[in-house]
């Protein structure tokens, strides 16, 4: 392709986008004061921006097509840097130790504000890993995941309010109720395929939120529940700062537990059944996997982590109301899973850290956050559907005495 054709194409794209964004970007009407504002500078910015981006877009598309062709010719996908680190034991173990030390020392070095942010990040690691079971491993797109989070949070808040139960009692109850609701949602949607499932789970999430908002006698409506106690430790009195650290360590412990459990689950019999279900439902059934049980366990186990995280959320913020559990929260968690790499634990951990910490430290761009999420979701799906850390498929190698035949 000659550069002239390329430039002509880009000019056309740029004209098209200037036309497309004209009414929304350029004109702003104020119907109260009856003024029309013309913002021509936006049009110039759009024109220039789309002119340049169209080159990048076409270049990326071409690269992607070449990549597909290369794969077809038999060269397997290259391993990413994380996977290479994971395989090299000499680097992997010291790196892990270093990371563990850093995580333990961290809260004593920085301010309470930073500790709280890290606590949130670890909470999202739990949520992300939980959703990863449902979306990444079992391939069931769940857009109502935040409902289970809400169940956990309200379990603690309400049980504490009415019966005075403490955090440690409520933690397992919250997890169990989360799992219970997971099964409750799982039953009706067993027969549904991908996209119907997405909508029904979305509906389920909204139902829970709307009920919490409207059923005043039960959940205290939109005003929420305040004065939820922080977790205690055998009656020891903590300062506010010590409490922040204490919750941090609880969350870290639970997140490590989550990582351990999810890792074990993925390599278990049920984990392999989930993978099989994701790849091909019919073939999976033909191989004798019980579809009902497999799907239900995926929902239940995914929801368990959300329930746990919900209890912690209520204890950490000491105040909850339905506004914390909107559909955007579900999408936020979904972004973590998708960005990190569906099905990959390292990926989800990285995704959670990126998506929680970046917006926190880029406050100046706070209003562009969701816009960027949207762009990232589309671009990820188009150019790198595997996420930051693509999951490697398990492969088996036969090395028996008769492997020479193979």
């Amino acid at each position: 392709m000659t550069p002239l054709i390329e430039i002509r194409k880009s000019v056309l794209v740029s004209i098209w986008f200037m036309f497309l964004t004209f009414p929304i970007m350029v004109i702003r009407v104020n119907t109260v004061e009856n003024v029309v504002e013309w913002r021509w500078h936006n049009m110039i910015a759009i024109g220039a921006g789309s002119f340049l981006l169209s080159f990048v877009w076409r270049y990326m598309i071409r690269r992607k097509e070449q990549g597909i062709r290369r794969q077809r010719e038999g060269a397997g996908p290259r391993l990413s840097i994380f996977q290479r680190i994971g395989q090299e034991r000499r680097i992997f173990l010291p790196a892990l130790t270093l990371l563990a030390v850093a995580v333990v020392v961290f809260p004593f070095l920085v301010s309470m504000y930073q500790v709280n942010i890290m606590t949130t990040a670890f909470m999202y690691i739990m949520l992300g890993l939980g959703l990863n079971i449902v979306v990444g491993v079992a391939g069931l797109l769940d857009l109502g995941y935040v409902a289970f989070y809400a169940v956990g949070a309200y379990t603690y808040a309400l049980l504490n309010h009415h019966f005075g139960l403490n955090f440690w009692v409520c933690l397992p109850i919250g997890a169990a109720l989360g799992a219970g609701f997971g099964i409750l949602l799982g039953f009706p949607v067993l027969r549904l395929r991908g996209d119907y499932l997405a909508i029904v789970t979305l509906g389920f999430g909204e139902i829970i939120r709307l009920v919490l908002e409207n059923w005043n006698e039960f959940s205290f409506g939109p005003s929420g529940i305040s004065n939820i106690p922080r977790p205690g430790l055998f009656g020891v009195a903590f300062s506010l700062e010590a409490h922040a650290r204490y919750i941090y360590f609880i969350v870290v412990a639970l997140a490590v537990f989550t990582i351990f459990m999810v890792n074990r689950l993925q390599n278990s019999r049920i984990g392999r059944a989930w993978l099989a279900l994701r790849e091909d439902e019919i073939a999976c059934q033909a191989m004798g996997v019980d579809k009902t049980r497999t799907k239900l366990t995926a929902f239940a186990l995914g929801a368990t982590w959300a329930g746990l995280a919900g209890v912690i959320f209520a204890a950490k913020t000491t105040f909850i109301n339905p506004a914390s559990f909107t559909i955007w929260e579900s999408i936020n968690i979904l972004c973590i899973v998708v960005l990190g790499g569906m099905g990959s634990i390292t990926g989800v951990v990285l995704g959670a850290l990126v998506l929680v910490l970046l917006p926190e430290y880029l406050r100046a761009f706070a209003e562009y956050r969701i816009l960027t999420f949207g762009v990232v979701l589309v671009l990820m799906m188009v150019f790198r559907p595997g996420g930051i850390v693509s999951n490697v498929r398990r492969t088996y190698q036969f090395e028996g005495p008769d492997s020479g035949d193979k």
Partner: protein, 302 residues
């Protein structure tokens, strides 16, 4: 039971249903052709409403007569929404032909987030008052207490669009190509159907009807903001599924049923749980009759 109250609710439901039908068409047509739930369809509707509002306001200031404003604003909304639908398909869906369905769905969600926030940032997060563009028809004055002329316009526009669309699908070359593509995309390609063009045309038609619905409903309700697409999109989707997704007459039937049930439910029982009700309705349908009222049940192919 009060008959007049009943009639009011019935006609209110009919209007509601007509509007859901205009939006549901986009879902059902796109699903019929590429089996994708276009999450961003509600956003196309919202962009239609905003374009309509902006053009209408500018033209009113310029001193155009009411009727000209109505026509030009509707045309602008339809044209722009179609262009957005077309561009969206090229960017977010076309590179993903043949990718797993989960990927396309996530891409659609991303597109929806993007468009919503694009309008939020470029325009405003407040509710904007939408001028009442549809004039009161003089000859309808005696019956206006039963059903307003606005509602009459909404219902008749919907009916016209449906008839035209049905004719298009049944009798034109393009309609034939659409039906072929929805039955078997690869086979259609082999027989010389330009599948990419068919998909583009489908997106354009779906977006155009959504924009028409947007202008009508916005001038009926009287206010818009960047978030209206989400709930309207969900409702329209429920309607499309209810009628049997992929079937055009099904979308109309489903939309009317949903409009009536919602209207009677809020009229006789409670208005607090209006949206909850739509969702529960959806879940119940999907459990007992996933193929919808007019949809054909699909056998899974191995």
């Amino acid at each position: 039971m009060d008959l007049q109250y009943f009639a009011e609710l019935f006609l209110g439901g009919l209007t509601r249903g007509s509007i859901y039908a205009l939006i549901a068409l986009g879902y059902t047509m796109v699903y019929g052709i590429i089996e994708l739930i276009n999450f961003a369809h509600g956003e196309i509707y919202m962009i239609g409403a905003f374009t309509g509002l902006i053009v209408a306001t500018v033209l009113t200031f310029a001193g155009f007569p009411t009727l000209a404003v109505l026509v030009l604003a509707s045309v602008a909304a339809v044209v722009y929404s179609s262009c957005y639908g077309f561009t969206m398909e090229k960017i977010a869906y076309k590179p993903l032909r043949g990718a797993p369905r989960l990927s396309v769905l996530i891409s659609a969600i991303g597109m929806s987030l993007f468009l919503q926030n694009y309008v939020l940032l470029a325009q405003t997060s407040d509710f904007l008052p939408f001028p009442s563009l549809v004039p009161d028809l003089a000859f309808w004055e005696p019956y206006a207490h039963i059903i307003s002329s606005q509602e009459i316009v909404i219902i008749s526009v919907t009916a016209t669009v449906m008839v035209l669309l049905n004719l298009l699908i049944k009798f034109t070359r393009m309609g034939k190509a659409m039906r072929a593509t929805s039955q078997d995309r690869e086979m259609a390609m082999l027989t010389g159907v330009d599948v990419n063009r068919v998909i583009s045309v489908t997106f354009v038609i779906g977006s155009a009807t959504a924009a028409l619905g947007a202008v009508l409903i916005a001038s009926h309700i009287g206010q818009i903001n960047f978030y209206i697409g989400f709930i309207a999109g969900i409702k329209a989707f429920v309607a499309a599924v209810l009628g049997g997704i992929g079937s055009v007459p099904g979308a109309v039937v489903g939309a009317l049923v949903l409009g009536w049930t919602e209207s009677f439910f809020t009229g006789y029982i409670s208005s607090d749980y209006e949206d909850v009700f739509a969702f529960i309705f959806l879940v119940v349908i999907l459990i007992f009759k996933p193929s919808g009222i007019l949809g054909r049940s699909e056998t899974q192919k191995v």
